[in-house]
């Protein structure tokens, strides 16, 4: 209980570690190819990002849940493919049961993608880039499966969700964990990406509101716009602070880690969708065009929501929590 927040050292460490993200994964890359993170995969591996969460005996860096959440938030801001975080998570989840497989994930040789169960109960992989493994968040567990085969993309990625969605045939299940702390960790890693979208949407909207002139002044001077920005700031801060708070609970293996991570996921997923929508709106006609990046944040926010189990799943998870852990 005496540690409730990420420390300054943890924040600065992650800031340093993730410094190359702006040049490696500029959001503008999505204008060319929405599923292009395969091109920078080796660089991500060399920077050690994929090995962040895995422990040292499988070649990992062994960062705590707090640093990993801060990383994931930053990756979310730059709309890094969810496959990056899925690989980080899988390397950690498999380190005890399948150390050899975990090593290949941490080194970047093998990829793991996130998947979710679609309407017809069939698994859907997000941006798989031929990933050998699929990480799926279930009601009370996280499971990792071998993928036997991917189907054709479900839609043209660049028009709908800024991610390629593929049906897939799963081979065997590699691991299933219902450990509350490990599960909470995955929730926080997903929530952190959404929080990153809420933050980046706020920042791009505010930046534009300072630049764009109408009626002889920046539109951000008008309360109708300024107050939308303030609402975005409140949503982004709430999501980020709760993600941090939950990540510390996970790192300390506290009993309220499950509760807080479920809350973080609920809040971050909704904040990302709302802030991304406001960002589009504040950009006006430009925001509605594909030439502006604003739409990518909204699309990715919806993809992350699906990975979290859909809004209904997110709410059910929240309600399933033990009230004694509320605070």
């Amino acid at each position: 209980m005496s540690v409730l927040l990420p420390s300054r050292e943890q924040r600065e460490f992650v800031e340093d570690l993730l410094r190359p993200v702006a040049t490696l994964l500029p959001v503008s890359r999505l204008q060319k190819d929405v599923s292009s993170d395969v091109a920078s995969w080796n660089s991500l591996a060399e920077l050690g990002w994929l090995a962040a969460a895995a422990s040292e005996n499988v070649g990992g860096v062994g960062l705590s849940a707090v640093e990993c959440a801060l990383m994931s938030e930053r990756l979310g801001e730059f709309l890094a493919s969810p496959t990056v975080v899925a690989t980080i998570v899988a390397a950690r989840l498999l380190e005890a049961s399948q150390p050899e497989l975990s090593k290949t994930l941490a080194s970047g040789e093998v990829r793991a993608a996130f998947g979710f169960v679609g309407r017809d109960e069939l698994p859907i992989a997000v941006d798989p880039m031929d990933a050998a493994l699929l990480v799926v968040l279930g009601k009370n567990e996280v499971s990792i499966h071998e993928v036997q085969q991917y189907g054709a993309p479900l839609s043209e990625a660049h028009t709908l969700w800024s991610s390629s969605l593929h049906s897939c045939v799963l081979a065997k299940t590699v691991s299933t964990t219902s450990d509350p702390i490990e599960t909470a960790n995955v929730l926080v890693m997903l929530a952190a990406q959404s929080a990153g979208i809420a933050i980046a949407s706020r920042d791009t909207a505010v930046e534009y509101a300072k630049l764009r002139q109408q009626f002889g002044q920046p539109i951000g001077a008008f309360q109708a716009v300024k107050h939308q920005c303030a609402d975005m700031a409140a949503r982004a801060l709430a999501a980020f602070d709760l993600v941090c708070f939950a990540s510390v609970a996970v790192a300390e293996a506290r009993p309220d880690a499950s509760f807080l991570s479920a809350a973080a996921l609920n809040l971050a997923v909704r904040s990302a969708v709302l802030n991304a929508g406001s960002n589009i709106h504040i950009h006006g006609g430009m925001g509605f065009s594909q030439e502006c990046s604003a739409h990518h944040y909204l699309k990715r926010a919806r993809v992350l929501e699906a990975l979290a189990g859909g809004i209904s799943g997110v709410r059910q998870r929240m309600l399933a929590m033990d009230p004694r852990l509320a605070g």
Binding site: L5, S7, D241, L319
Partner: protein, 381 residues
């Protein structure tokens, strides 16, 4: 907060929590304060005295003025246990003394002012009220006109304040006046300690839409106060007032925010309606976020005013309180005992409308967030 924590920190904190819990179990009053009038004064002071005797007041205040000089972490633990115990809401007639006047005096007061007032506040001897708003100066606080003519070592005050909660039962008021007659806007103001029994003061209580006659109009007819009652420098009252509002917008509401967590849990326990359940799921997450934000601000601004970022928490708290009380009315219906009873959800729902108005409306908070946190240009008001 430090990454390196003394190894016995957890143990000491756990012992502190246990001590707080045990004391509250034995001593907490389980009824709510009467809403207004002398009964409310008597109740609030008695409860404050009991907490003081137990050593639970002014946890983060300096030792020389009767505080315990503990960290924000202990304060948080106390408020958590306080809220769990079902003790009276801290949003009562003691709120201004404990959360406005006290912290403002600690930050800006003279040694004499601190020595005289802080122990009285902690011991539960005095009630304070706020005197900022005027009929013509609400959101535009800097347009206030109540004047204080400086004559030698006295200030002679005339004018009118409004929305001054508990002014009718208060001993002192934090009063913001224009002491430099040639000044305008936020220049030339002074924050003065005004004893409510000074000759020339008339108080008229006003009934709120939620029922209680708790907020008041106060009239000043040549009220004479010593210049020594100025806090934070003559004509420099805007800075003092902003520090006061900073406390209100930040850490002052920790206990209320934790209380909200338990209120949402009560709604979830009573709900069997799927449509409402979805809303309650979101509210459960939102009160958790409010708690996370509050803790971060309390822990990173140890003892200080939280600054503009406090406006985000204030805004979030106001809007969230309203969503929670709306959900309660929708869940129970207007004729249920939970809504109708004394201090029930009906009262909370109606009283909740003040959250988006008092201490700076949500629109003012959004201006502050837009301009001071996000750096957007100032526009027409």
């Amino acid at each position: 907060m430090n990454a390196v924590v003394a190894p016995d920190r957890d143990a000491r904190l756990a012992a502190f929590r246990e001590e707080a819990r045990a004391w509250l179990a034995a001593n907490a009053i389980h009824e709510q304060a009467p809403s207004d009038g002398p009964a409310s004064r008597e109740f609030v002071l008695r409860w404050q005295q009991r907490q003081h005797q137990g050593g639970w007041t002014g946890l983060t205040w300096p030792k020389e003025y009767g505080g315990r000089a503990l960290s924000a972490l202990e304060q948080i633990v106390w408020f958590e246990e306080y809220a769990k115990s079902g003790a009276p809401s801290t949003h009562d007639a003691s709120f201004v003394a404990m959360n406005h006047a006290g912290p403002t005096l600690i930050a800006c007061g003279t040694a004499e002012q601190k020595e005289f007032h802080l122990p009285k506040i902690l011991r539960g001897e005095v009630i304070w009220c706020q005197g900022f708003s005027e009929p013509g100066a609400g959101s535009d606080l800097a347009s206030l006109r109540t004047s204080g003519r400086v004559l030698g070592d006295e200030i002679v005050i005339s004018g009118q304040k409004i929305w001054s909660s508990y002014a009718d039962i208060a001993d002192y008021q934090e009063l913001l006046i224009r002491t430099d007659p040639t000044s305008s806007r936020h220049h030339g103001l002074s924050w003065v300690i005004c004893p409510m029994d000074a000759p020339g003061i008339t108080v008229r209580p006003i009934r709120t839409m939620a029922g209680p006659r708790k907020f008041c109009e106060v009239f000043y007819d040549d009220v004479r106060l010593p210049v020594a009652n100025v806090v934070g420098g003559l004509h420099d009252g805007w800075r003092t007032a902003m520090s006061t509002l900073g406390f209100e917008r930040g850490t002052a509401s920790v206990a209320l925010q934790i209380r909200l967590v338990h209120k949402v849990e009560a709604l979830i326990a009573d709900c069997q309606d799927d449509v409402l359940m979805a809303r309650l799921a979101d509210l459960r997450a939102e009160v958790a976020a409010l708690r996370a934000m509050t803790y971060r601000i309390a822990l990173t601004n140890e003892g200080g005013s939280p600054g503009s970022e406090g406006s985000i928490v204030r805004l979030y708290f106001a809007e969230l309180t309203q969503r929670v009380t709306e959900a309660a009315i929708d869940l129970y219906g207007i004729s249920s005992p939970q809504v109708l009873k004394d201090h029930g959800w009906g009262y909370d729902y109606l009283d909740g409308f003040s959250e988006a108005i008092a201490g700076g409306t949500v629109e003012i908070q959004k201006n502050i967030i837009g301009e001071r946190v996000l750096g957007l240009p100032r526009g027409a008001r």
